[in-house]
């Protein structure tokens, strides 16, 4: 069974903190000495600025080296946790082995992460599904029907392949559309099982909102995509999160993981606004916590992590520009 690594992320070296303090002290001191020496016209004080500034400059270069190595290690750690998730999902349920998972290995860790999040959202659905969902146009319109499960894998596998192809071509929008299709399948499966709509913010509206975001992104209408995304989150919040269906939770978590991985992927393009923080360790901790709470069905905690970090939602358009 998949179990996130409890050892946690690579610890930040204590030297980093010492060097950071050293940099701050030397810069402050040299600036203060320059100002004071300038006002008092003291050449000897200005002379002291040289060794202090030199120390801070060298410390900063060392800091950058150590920090870079630290972030690299945590990235590897994150790859490990996502691979563990993928291998767990490959084993259970057995049908998942039929998916073309090997495609993911060609496309880097982000794509593996997206596919594993896709699998997280489908694992439960496939385990418990009794009906095949047939949709025209792969779920983007609303013509659904419920059928026996004989060929359930065909549709899901085709979406997986389509998504993997889109990922390998760096087509983020098509990837997002494929994930949206999966959400639609998951939610419709639930509706087929229960044959009723349980909640106020209906599954159709949920699918509709996600489809609108996808369409807006596809048309590069970033302003509209942002608006729809905001509406989606607001609607979900009003719905009293702990009472949401498990499928909607899975969809939301998959979407959340996808969003985070997209942000990480954007590091390569230079879009990440992390400052001195390490995005890999943050994501590692968040995924770890979400999966734990999800297993325990502690929806309040899951919702706090997801909604708490959805303020980054406006960054999606920026990534895609």
């Amino acid at each position: 069974m998949f179990s996130p690594n409890r050892k946690g992320v690579i610890r930040e070296s204590p030297y980093i903190i010492i060097i950071r303090i050293l940099i701050l002290i030397t810069i402050t001191l040299s600036s203060a000495l320059f100002v004071y020496g300038f006002i008092k016209r003291e050449l000897s004080l200005l002379l002291l600025v040289f060794p202090l500034s030199l120390t801070s400059s060298v410390s900063l270069i060392i800091y950058q080296r150590i920090k870079g190595a630290y972030i690299k290690k945590n990235k590897q750690k994150l790859v490990e946790i996502i691979r563990n998730a993928a291998s767990f999902l490959e084993k259970k349920p057995p049908q998942l082995t039929k998916y073309d998972i090997t495609l993911s290995s060609k496309t880097g860790f982000v794509w593996e992460g997206v596919i594993s999040s896709f699998l997280i959202s489908t694992a439960h659905f496939l385990n418990h599904s009794r009906y095949l969902i047939i949709s025209e146009d792969h779920g983007r319109n609303k013509t659904w029907s419920c059928e026996p499960e004989s060929s359930i894998l065909i549709d899901v596998a085709s979406i997986t392949r389509k998504m993997a192809n889109a990922l390998s071509e760096d087509d983020t929008v098509q990837t997002f559309l494929s994930i949206g299709e999966l959400y639609a399948l998951s939610l419709q499966n639930r509706r087929c099982l229960e044959n009723k709509t349980i909640i106020k913010y209906s599954d159709e509206s949920f699918i509709d909102d996600i489809s609108k975001i996808s369409t807006s992104l596809k048309q590069r209408n970033l302003f509209e995509a942002d608006l729809f995304q905001e509406r989606l989150i607001e609607n979900l919040k009003q719905e009293n999160p702990p009472k949401m269906t498990i499928y909607k939770w899975q969809a939301l978590i998959a979407y959340w993981i996808w969003l985070r991985l997209s942000l990480l992927n954007s590091i390569k393009k230079g879009f990440y606004f992390a400052g001195w923080s390490d995005p890999y360790s943050i994501l590692y901790r968040q995924i770890d916590a979400i999966i734990r709470y999800f297993k325990n069905e502690d929806w309040l905690e899951v919702s706090e992590i997801i909604y708490g970090s959805f303020d980054w939602r406006t960054w999606i358009p920026r990534i895609l520009v």
Partner: protein, 154 residues
């Protein structure tokens, strides 16, 4: 459509930043020429009194040593400024790493402090008039600020 508008604005801002850098560098080079002319005319070693020691001590530094230190600092300043400008221009395209911008800004700040200290020391030691010294110092400080404002709001 939106992305092309953003790109056009970013191009405008980075071009403005390049032009401002080029124009300010003319004033800076002229001032630097006067400053270095004075330094070369000065033939003696530079005496730096250290009144805080007991007994008070005076440090004598050959002018050539100071000039070499100054040139190394100028090189550091030029390198950190170019790196910083490179990162700052990425702000206009919304494609920058804050990490790089912060680290670059710290390097730039250190190099400015070093440059100002070095120039002030030499200026006072060889007797350059205060107004001329202040002109160069202020020009050095406001330069990155003007460029940053241009990229931010230009």
């Amino acid at each position: 459509m939106a992305s092309s508008r953003i790109e056009a604005l970013a191009n405008r801002r980075t071009n403005l930043a390049d032009w401002i850098t080029a124009i300010l560098s003319i004033f800076w080079s002229v001032w630097w020429g006067f400053f270095f002319g004075k330094v070369i005319e000065y033939k003696n070693s530079v005496i730096i009194p250290v009144p805080y020691l007991n007994p008070p001590y005076s440090l004598e530094i050959p002018l050539i040593t100071l000039v070499i230190i100054n040139l190394v600092i100028c090189g550091y300043f030029a390198s950190s400024y170019v790196h910083w400008l490179w990162n700052a221009q990425k702000v206009a395209y919304r494609s920058f790493l804050v990490k790089d911008l912060i680290n670059g800004s710290i390097h730039l700040w250190i190099s400015i402090i070093l440059l100002l200290s070095s120039v002030t020391m030499m200026g006072w030691a060889i007797g350059i008039p205060d107004p001329m010294l202040f002109y160069g110092l202020i020009l050095t400080i406001i330069w990155p600020l003007i460029v940053l404002m241009t990229i931010w709001r230009g």
